[in-house]
């Protein structure tokens, strides 16, 4: 069936079974491979995107349920002129990624958190940032979120 949705500001009409997870439509139909497959059960967060602004794990959301909604992926958060989102820039400044595979999802989660809370405290960050990173970049994720919201923090991982 044809499903109409908006992705990163553009309208698409997708031919897909409505129970196909949004993740695979984004990756295989639209070629937006920045959103990653990690677990398929909504446990790791590598597939995190925004659905009408809300953080959502796209591997568990049937594409049929997002008909008519606005989806934002990692490819859609920089400014139209290409300037990185402040969270992306903070990620570079804090040298967060290692293998990088989970970082699209981490950044999408951080952007949603900041949009909701403004200047999140350490406790807010602990509560909201539940995506898994096997490389162990968590301390630098904290640093980057605080830096992106104008809060100072000691560099992590360095004495």
């Amino acid at each position: 069936m044809a499903i109409d949705m908006q992705v990163n500001g553009k309208s698409f009409s997708i031919e897909a079974d409505s129970d196909t997870p949004l993740l695979w439509v984004l990756r295989e139909e639209l070629g937006l491979t920045g959103t990653k497959f990690g677990c398929g059960i909504g446990a790791c967060g590598a597939c995190s995107v925004h659905v009408d602004g809300a953080i959502t794990r796209s591997c568990r959301i049937p594409v049929g349920s997002v008909a008519g909604k606005a989806i934002t992926t990692i490819e859609g958060i920089a400014a139209p002129n290409g300037t990185l989102h402040p969270v992306q820039q903070a990620w570079i400044d804090a040298q967060v990624p290692q293998c990088g595979y989970c970082q699209s999802g981490q950044i999408m989660a951080a952007v949603a958190l900041i949009k909701k809370i403004g200047r999140p405290s350490a406790a807010h960050i602990d509560e909201a940032m539940t995506n898994i990173c096997r490389c162990g970049t968590y301390p630098r994720i904290r640093t980057a979120i605080l830096a992106a919201t104008g809060q100072s923090v000691a560099a992590q991982g360095d004495a």
Partner: protein, 734 residues
């Protein structure tokens, strides 16, 4: 490409005009092939790994693949520093998967340490026949063993950069009619200060290729480093924050099909039968492929393939392993280490005499660790396409050359007919090393069944249940304390699949020590898990060291101190971490500090962990101080990130992780029952590097091993409970 290749060979140094330079270790044939692969008109290719183009762009060809450890930037720093290149014009590319770009310095680097009599531990998954070739210097492109910077960088990139710089100077001297000694280099220019003239490297590169490279160029003194030792931002990070980095999972090709697979739940089992009809009834499914020990479904997309696979009811045999369980393994291992009949032993001094001496105090303890999974965030994904008798592959694996060879063998064609395109890896930690990647043979066999390119994706469930786990192991430790509270003798008896002697560096100075291995194989494919056997053996010995300190009535830090040689690197590292962590100062009620030190991959790491235990018994590390001596630090920021990551992976593994077998099969299947540490439980981490002139050690792995024992020791300090089995979970519950 129109590259003209003329070859000169003088004193072991080869040179190819208009194209490529090579120094001591390179084979002429290999350098010719390399020039053909990457040479450009009017560009000089120095060694097999550096190309300077007319516009001054310096391209470094890395024989390693990025898996997140940042060492690709480290390699570029080393080459660029010796070359005196302009950092803004440095580009790093993956070396083509061709023996011309094989990593001979890797073999050379470990030749002194380990070859030719034994297999480097991180390569142990390699096949015996491959190792025989390795010993004869067959080239590799392995990324593993914390080797990238210390072998490829020190022995390869720095030498290549320095030799190329000398050739550029000599070329400039000729052109300017001055002496070499009057010239200096900076920012990709050769400068004649006296006359104020300078020449760009890009102007000189092609002519410089006419010079003979020196085989052993003089390397810079530390005081002259411009990039080495500096926290230069990593080159691979920008595409990892905007979704443009391309992993093996992200391969896009015209007409691409997707397959997913289910192998026999019990390793060693075979596919008995499967009715393909239910899968073929799923929309988008094109084919069901039966393999010897697995069934796969090819479809238009992953979801259709997975839906098709899940519709099947394949019957598998258990390979005779149906009675195996984690509990049966633990019991059998515990019995075996009591037989006093080890398969391998090493050590020094007369341990039996030391343990039997009168007046000594004997201390004994049993330890056990479960199978542990790598859980890299990107599940395996490998794409293959057969066309006209040739095979093309795309994906992220830790040894591209081996991948090519394994694929050729599985396909029954010559390696010349296999092209492999390496992609970056979404984590690896040893899981993507040669010998452990069944996916190579699987995808080749599946690709034979379709005219289209096919991407084989392992579901997370497949990935968790068919790992190459860190082995389950059991140990019995026994030591004697003399009347002065010093260790007189120590024995570690341990059972696991393989001998871990080489990765178990006992760092304390005691009169008698014995490490005794009891072979114990299971049906599992034991793999190298970040830091390999240093993990479990570090957990046993550094926990037991704490037990001995308490038995002697001494502070664990001071007790370790008195068994270390004054003036040694180990003592300096231990003292540094104790001082920085405020060892001995008062703590908040309920908290305890644990200390542990392990040397692995030639790097000494000591941690102090401050921890508490919740009402539910779960330990929580609040802060970790780590002191590290790895010799030269090429990129301090990247190095700190590696140690920090190792600590967090170490914490995750010792607090929660366990793969358990029942009826020969793995019980866990995804992150709900194999949970990894999350941000809320990640401690603050402070890493400090000690200056040292020691030969370079690794950084990717050595942060892990001291973590579990430091946390166990902190739990003991906080609660008085000694936990001797991993994972800790709620064992410390009051």
């Amino acid at each position: 490409m129109g590259v003209k290749r003329r070859v000169f060979l003088i004193g072991g140094a080869a040179l190819i005009g208009g194209g490529l330079f090579a120094v001591s270790w390179s084979e002429r044939a290999a350098t010719r092939r390399a020039a053909k692969l990457v040479g450009k008109d009017k560009a000089g290719v120095f060694e097999t790994w550096i190309r300077i183009s007319e516009d001054d762009t310096v391209t470094i060809f890395s024989p390693h693949v990025d898996m997140g450890q940042g060492s690709i930037t480290g390699l570029a720093q080393m080459a660029a520093d010796e070359l005196d290149a302009d950092w803004a014009k440095i580009v790093v590319e993956s070396a083509p998967v061709n023996v011309a770009f094989a990593n001979t310095p890797l073999v050379k680097g470990f030749g002194g340490e380990l070859l030719p009599f034994s297999i480097p531990p991180f390569l142990k998954g390699i096949t015996g026949s491959t190792f025989a070739l390795l010993a004869r210097n067959i080239p590799l492109q392995v990324t593993g063993g914390s080797s990238t910077v210390r072998a490829t960088g020190q022995l390869g990139m720095r030498v290549a950069g320095a030799a190329a710089r000398q050739a550029l100077i000599a070329t400039a001297a000729k052109r300017l009619g001055v002496l070499d000694a009057e010239l200096t280099t900076a920012n990709s220019k050769v400068i004649h200060a006296k006359s104020g003239r300078s020449l760009r490297y890009g102007e000189l590169a092609a002519d410089a290729a006419e010079m003979t490279l020196v085989a052993e160029p003089k390397l810079k003194e530390a005081s002259d480093y411009r990039f080495i030792g500096k926290p230069i931002p990593r080159l691979d990070i920008p595409p990892k924050v905007d979704g443009t980095a391309r992993y093996g999972m992200d391969v896009k090709l015209p007409d691409l099909r997707v397959a997913t697979i289910m192998a026999a739940p019990v390793r060693g089992g075979k596919l008995d039968s499967v009715d393909a009809a239910p899968a073929l009834g799923v929309k988008g499914v094109e084919k069901v492929v039966k393999l010897d020990n697995a069934v796969a479904v090819i479809a238009k997309g992953y979801w259709q393939a997975l839906t098709g696979l899940r519709a099947l009811s394949p019957q598998f045999s258990d390979g005779g392993h149906g009675a195996l369980s984690s509990a049966s393994i633990a019991a059998a291992q515990a019995a075996k280490i009591k037989t006093d009949n080890p398969d391998n032993k090493s050590g020094h001094g007369d341990v039996p005499a030391a343990l039997a001496a009168s007046g000594v105090k004997l201390v004994e303890a049993d330890y056990a660790v479960p199978f542990i999974h790598h859980a890299m965030m990107e599940p395996f994904a490998l794409t293959a396409h057969f066309k006209d008798g040739k095979l093309e592959l795309w994906g992220g694996l830790q040894d591209p050359l081996y991948t090519r060879k394994a694929a050729a063998e599985a396909a029954g064609i010559s390696t010349d007919h296999v092209t492999f395109h390496p992609m970056i890896m979404g984590g690896a930690f040893g899981r993507r090393l040669p010998g452990f990647c069944e996916i190579i043979g699987q995808v080749v066999r599946i690709a034979k069944q379709t005219p289209y390119p096919v991407k084989l994706i392992w579901s997370r469930e497949e990935e968790v249940q068919h790992g190459a786990y860190r082995p389950q192991a059991s140990a019995h430790l026994k030591a004697a304390l003399d009347k002065d509270g010093r260790i007189a003798g120590w024995t570690t008896d341990y059972a696991q699949s393989e001998d871990a002697a080489r990765e178990t560096r006992f760092v304390y100075d005691i009169p008698a020590f014995a490490l005794r291995h009891y072979e114990f194989a299971t049906n599992q494919h034991d793999g190298p898990w970040r830091s390999v056997n240093s993990n479990q053996n570090g957990f046993y010995s550094e926990s037991f060291m704490d037990e001995l300190a308490h038995a002697a009535g001494e502070d664990p830090y001071k007790f370790r101190r008195k068994h270390l040689t004054p003036g040694s690197r180990h003592l300096a590292v231990l003292d540094n971490v104790a001082k920085r962590s405020g060892w001995g100062t008062p703590l908040t009620t309920g908290r305890g500090r644990g200390i542990a030190m392990v040397e692995s991959f030639n790097t000494i790491v000591a941690h102090v962990i401050e921890a508490s235990v919740g009402d539910d018994g779960r330990p929580r590390a609040h802060k970790v101080w780590s002191s590290v001596d790895c010799g030269l630090v090429v990129n301090p920021d990247g190095a700190a990130a590696q140690i920090m990551g190792g600590i967090i992976m170490g914490l995750s593994s010792c607090v929660d992780e366990a793969i358990t077998l029942d009826k020969g099969a793995v019980l866990q299947s995804n992150f709900h029952d194999y949970p990894l540490l999350k941000l809320a439980e990640a401690p603050d981490v402070e890493v400090h590097f000690l200056e040292s002139n020691a030969s370079m050690g690794g950084l990717g792995e050595p942060g892990v091993p001291p973590t579990a024992p430091a946390l166990a020791n902190a739990i003991f300090a906080a609660t008085g409970k000694r936990i001797r089995q991993l994972p800790f979970r709620s064992q410390a519950k009051a």
